[in-house]
Symmetry: C2
Subunit: 217 residues, 2 copies
């Protein structure tokens, strides 16, 4: 029974790693579509969001199946509930990549992000990518220190998010309201992506250490 | 064992109803704080978000305890997983009320929403309130027809959200970028509140009918 549980848990973990990799690839591609007005990249993100949703359903089914067959208790039960939380965060991160792609397409062939804002979005995307990579790593190989780094990454994301508003609200913002609205929403998508990565990381830390950190949301 | 499960499930259901009522009250109060620049109302929403988070933790603890003690299967297990989903949606709806309150406070004593936008936000808040009320009702007394109404409410919310952008992007928008950014974020908060209400409703419908509708997010 114990071996069987371990084998099942391994399958669930692998599904979560697959989700993290899928979400990371989606946000990379969404950023490329956004910053280079690459329509095919944006469309591919939207098409592939269904794959991430499908992985999410697989995780839920596996966990429910496992709860029903094995009736785990204590730390095993906790691992199952944590898997559901992490999967929900990853699924939402996939949605946010999809939102970035859709925002880019809405302005295509014009770029949704003007030249002045490309550096800040490049940096936000870089942090988002690093965070998605770390989630994949800690899911593949639990590492509380690496998971804790996500908090610092999120602080850096918040700083960039503030600096974005600084540019939008500068006296010399030349692009008008529509571009400011796009940038506001895009900024929020990257920032929420980071929040969900932090949440997912906290759940993994809880699983490793048993210590529940306060929610980041 | 069966009676015991029913009694436990009843407690979980009541916690969810309490969450739905708390979230509804929070969004009402947040809207009042927003539209009347009522600082005390906004501050009260922020202070009380912790209560909703606490209810969320109670639901999780109860469900985990119940899974461990009773090892439910089939529809009972499904009810437990559904309760976790609904609680997560409600917790997030509380966060969104908190975000509305914080946006209002950031501009206090100025109103964050100018006179031209007050009607659309009044309408969005009205729909949000109706949706939160319906979630509470279907949790207290399962009703698939009432839950299905949430989809129509969400369509009305989406229409209002579009009309908000229409005002912001009109040639005669007089308020500049900062107010447009606030309105963009506020619009998103109400719209996401509705999305989570739809998700929560779908989970309840699934529980009642066993039919899984496609995700709204």
């Amino acid at each position: 029974m114990r071996d069987e549980f371990r084998a099942d848990l391994q399958i669930v973990s692998q599904l979560l790693v697959d989700m993290a990799e899928g979400v990371r690839a989606a946000m990379r591609q969404a950023t490329r579509g956004l910053l280079t007005a690459d329509r095919e990249a944006s469309e591919a993100v939207i098409a592939r969001d269904a794959e991430i949703d499908e992985l999410y359903r697989h995780v839920e089914e596996r966990v429910c199946d496992l709860l029903a067959r094995q009736a785990p208790v204590a730390s095993d039960l906790r691992a199952m509930i944590t898997a559901l939380h992490v999967a929900a965060d990853l699924e939402r991160m996939g949605d946010l990549a999809d939102h970035v792609a859709k925002t880019a397409l809405r302005r295509h062939p014009s770029p949704a992000v003007p030249a002045e804002l490309r550096p800040v979005f490049t940096d936000m995307a870089g942090i988002a990518d690093r965070m998605a990579e770390k989630i994949g790593s800690v899911l593949a190989k639990p590492d509380a220190d690496l998971a804790a780094e996500l908090d610092r990454d999120d602080d850096a994301m918040d700083d960039l998010h503030k600096s974005l508003f600084g540019v939008l609200l500068g006296d010399d913002w030349p692009y008008g309201v529509e571009t400011a609205i796009d940038a506001t929403l895009l900024g929020r998508f990257y920032e929420r992506f980071a929040d969900h990565a932090v949440n997912a990381g906290e759940h993994v830390v809880y699983l490793i250490t048993g210590v529940n950190s306060p929610s980041a949301s």
